[in-house]
């Protein structure tokens, strides 16, 4: 798709964020052309202390955690309490303030979001916090694990063996869930501003974002009023269902949900097994009856387990898909980098990290025919753009006088 212009070009975002939810929100706005200025304390954002690190070299400029969530931003070292006039001068020219401080921290810093919104009428104040800005838990401390636990996702994730605790799904998904809604909120507020010319305060709660991102668990409570119970790498359900994870000959796995009641899928599977001489008695006419095979589901399961063990996960994935079955290979992160489909789509992009070379990042989550993202640039060094940002403030103040 050919791109011309990025939708957020000309928008300015002031980011005061010290967690992934706020930083990822800023990054998504920056990718689509917004000028995102990350304000950091003089020692640098605490997120720079989090690994992994480039080439294992620990330090504030080599945090891959920081790199990942802060590409395409500028960094200005500014103490927003001591240098309040400059902070407010920045807000006067901004479209967004992305801020992650919880209520007590806001108070301690003398920042009143409603007051800022009243004084800067076009400013969209995008607060992204663990529990929201009000309520009995508003100042509770969180983390990705704590958010996934209290918000509900963790209750559905883990193993069939309930002696093992629920297991956190990898990759900071509590924070990512909050970011998903922060981005949607940002866009709804921009559309509102296009209509009315007015900004507002948005209060995004990670706890609530998780609570509405548990898929079937909520409707199972809303309607039959039952809880779901976790199962190994498949849907948590009110009653146990068959395993869907199959180990293949190369010790990798495929996900394949064997829905015994689906006639067409059943025939396809049996044909596929037969093509490898592994269908055994499943070809018997009796097995075309749903009730008959449901009564023998453990035998069926055992045969399917053997069937996957005689092939590689990659073979099973592509042949199953060629036969029209929704089967997926459990890729490791390194496999996604080599995936021929993602390569053909030109998904991964290279970001120049100077002495550290060019590093591959995942590309945009959406593609548009008439516009698109700006070229990716690396995350900024601490205060890399302080001088130019201060000069811009001074210039804007002179122009206003």
């Amino acid at each position: 798709m050919t791109n011309s212009g990025a939708p957020f070009a000309g928008l300015r975002v002031i980011e005061l964020a010290d967690d992934i939810a706020g930083e990822f929100t800023g990054r998504l706005l920056a990718e689509m052309g917004a000028d995102v200025i990350k304000l950091e304390p003089p020692g640098g954002s605490p997120t720079r202390a989090v690994g992994p690190f480039a080439r294992g070299e620990e330090g504030p400029e080599t945090s891959l955690n920081f790199w990942y969530y802060n590409s395409n931003k500028r960094s200005a070292a500014l103490d927003v309490v001591r240098e309040r006039a400059q902070f407010e001068a920045l807000l006067a020219g901004a479209d967004f303030l992305v801020i992650t401080a919880q209520p007590a921290a806001l108070k301690a810093q003398g920042i009143d979001l409603a007051d800022l919104s009243a004084r800067f009428a076009r400013l969209i104040v995008l607060s992204v916090t663990p529990f929201g800005l009000d309520g009995p838990w508003a100042d509770f401390k969180s983390s990705d694990l704590v958010a996934l636990a209290a918000g509900g996702p963790l209750n559905s994730c883990g193993y069939d063996d309930h002696a093992i605790p629920p297991i956190r799904p990898g990759g900071n998904q509590g924070y990512h869930t909050a970011t998903s809604f922060a981005l949607i909120g940002a866009l709804l507020a921009l559309l509102e501003r296009q209509k009315t010319g007015k900004g507002q305060v948005l209060d995004v709660s990670m706890h609530e974002a998780c609570a509405v991102n548990i898929e079937l668990a909520n409707p199972y409570w809303f309607y039959p009023r039952v809880n779901v119970h976790r199962q190994t790498c498949r849907h948590a359900q009110p009653t146990p269902t068959q395993p869907a994870l199959f180990r293949c000959g190369d010790d990798r796995y495929v996900y394949f949900a064997l829905i015994l009641s689906d006639q067409k899928a059943w025939r396809t599977l049996v044909e596929w097994m037969e093509s490898k001489g592994m269908a055994a008695d499943l070809v018997e006419p009796a097995f075309s009856d749903v009730a008959y095979r449901q009564a023998r589901f453990q035998d069926v399961q055992a045969l399917v387990e053997c069937f996957f063990l005689v092939q590689s996960a990659e073979e099973a994935y592509h042949e199953g898909q060629a036969r029209g079955l929704p089967i997926g290979v459990l890729n490791a992160p390194e496999d996604t980098l080599e995936d021929v489909h993602l390569r053909a789509r030109g998904f991964f992009v290279e970001v120049d990290h100077g002495a550290y070379g060019k590093v591959r990042y995942p590309g945009a989550s959406y593609r548009f025919s008439s516009f698109g993202e700006v070229p990716r640039t690396r995350a900024p060094h601490i205060g890399e753009h302080t001088a130019e940002v201060l000069a811009e403030i001074a210039g804007a103040q002179r122009a206003a006088q």
Binding site: G51, N65, I167, Q200, L337
Partner: protein, 403 residues
């Protein structure tokens, strides 16, 4: 399955007139899933001939929308679809690739029918590339994008995901893409075709680990990965999920530094074991997590999960009870205070609860004006009143089986 409906729900909630087109002969999967009041069944246990208006999942995803039925295998149905598109400024679909093309509904055609239309295409693999035709739903997307593999205990099969996280996340990113295209069109006047691949959304959600792999050549196949509930970065410890009183009840506790460790020790009543030299620094606690977790679990196991969460938080410890949907809906005081869930009446189901938007806006208003439409409920309103189909024509369409 729920991706398209969940994405457009966001637009319907905030004032867009969303018209959902369905096929009477090929019922939407969410209308068939047996999530009913008063009956607890796994979602594989469908009725052969379900009541299409009774399903909770469909209601959950389609509030605030209008619902019509069109039979695209009839001439009249195809004509109605064209007229509906001509009167719309946004069209979304999440069929398998090629289905819309078979009906001639390419972006070029849509743009003729409705100049500067936004055409959002929501699929698993995207609309180009060698696997574009592959079939997928949440668990397949989670597998292929790497999100399942990176979740689990070391040396065991992956525990992955217990729900279609990626159906929801793909829906959220699709909703954002739609809003972005609308915002952009408001400025430039230009529409857009949107191609969102759920797998690409998923790879983006792997996070910094992907850079560790891409740049440092880190292997995730070394047997020590993934690390269950333990963090690799930073060196938090304790960092885990610990048993509480009752059957299968748990609490998550995360300690990132010495101050938080002191707070946890205080909350435990300063037990002697916590003063042992192997727990004296964050690095030592991180290195001795097996012993630390065993000690902590022995302490948590007799506590009520919610009471323990509150007392630990009061002491300044990051802690969260592992909450079920029941806990969230019935007893979580924060959720209750913020009012994220709400109720709407439904003509067949009765009063039902809904997941709201986890954002409080000071200006933008969410209007919840109806629960999900019954099958074909708004045919007359949409075709007669919005499109201006005459009564004779409408009757002919009905006779043809176009509706």
């Amino acid at each position: 399955m729920g991706v398209g409906a969940c994405a457009t729900r966001l637009l319907a909630d905030f004032g867009a007139e969303v018209i959902r087109i369905e096929d009477r002969q090929r019922l939407d999967m969410p209308r068939r899933l047996p999530v009913y009041k008063g009956e607890a069944r796994a979602y594989g246990e469908e009725d052969a001939n379900p009541d299409p208006n009774k399903g909770g999942i469909f209601n959950n995803y389609n509030r605030n929308k209008l619902g019509v039925t069109i039979n695209m295998r009839t001439k009249g149905g195809r004509m109605l679809a064209d007229r509906l598109i001509a009167s719309s400024s946004v069209v979304t679909e999440n069929f398998a690739p090629g289905v819309m093309e078979r009906w001639g509904l390419t972006y070029e055609r849509l743009n003729e029918l409705s100049p500067n239309v936004i055409y959002a295409r929501m699929s698993g693999y995207g609309h180009s590339g060698p696997h574009a035709e592959y079939k997928s739903y949440g668990p397949v997307v989670q597998a292929v994008s790497g999100l399942s593999y990176i979740s689990g205990l070391p040396g065991q099969e992956p525990s992955g995901w217990g729900y279609s996280y990626m159906d929801n996340e793909a829906a959220f990113f699709n909703a954002a893409a739609l809003l972005m295209a609308i915002y952009n069109r408001n400025i430039t006047g230009k529409g857009a075709e949107i191609d969102v691949s759920a797998i690409e959304v998923g790879v983006n959600l792997i996070g910094p680990l992907l850079l560790d792999v891409a740049m440092n050549g880190r292997s995730t196949r070394d047997g020590a990965f993934p690390t269950g509930n333990r963090l690799e970065h930073p060196n938090a410890a304790p960092h885990g999920v610990y048993p509480c009183a009752g059957e299968d009840q748990w609490i998550a506790i995360a300690v990132f530094d010495d101050a938080e460790w002191r707070a946890l020790k205080g909350a435990m009543g300063s037990p002697a074991w916590a003063e042992a030299p192997e727990f004296a620094t964050q690095a030592k606690r991180f290195a001795n997590q097996d012993a630390l977790d065993a000690r902590l679990a022995a302490w948590t196991k007799d506590h009520d999960k919610r009471a323990l969460m509150l007392s630990l938080q009061a002491a300044g410890v990051r802690a969260g009870a592992v909450q079920s949907a029941e806990d969230l809906n019935e007893t979580d005081p924060q959720i209750a205070h913020r009012g994220v869930f709400f109720e709407l009446d439904h003509p067949v189901i009765g009063e039902a609860r809904f997941e709201g938007t986890p954002i409080k806006f000071s200006r933008t208003v969410q209007e919840n004006w109806r629960s999900a439409p019954l099958l074909g409920e708004d045919n007359a309103f949409v075709f007669r009143e919005l499109l201006g189909v005459s009564s004779a024509e409408y009757e002919a369409l009905e006779a043809e089986g176009a509706l």
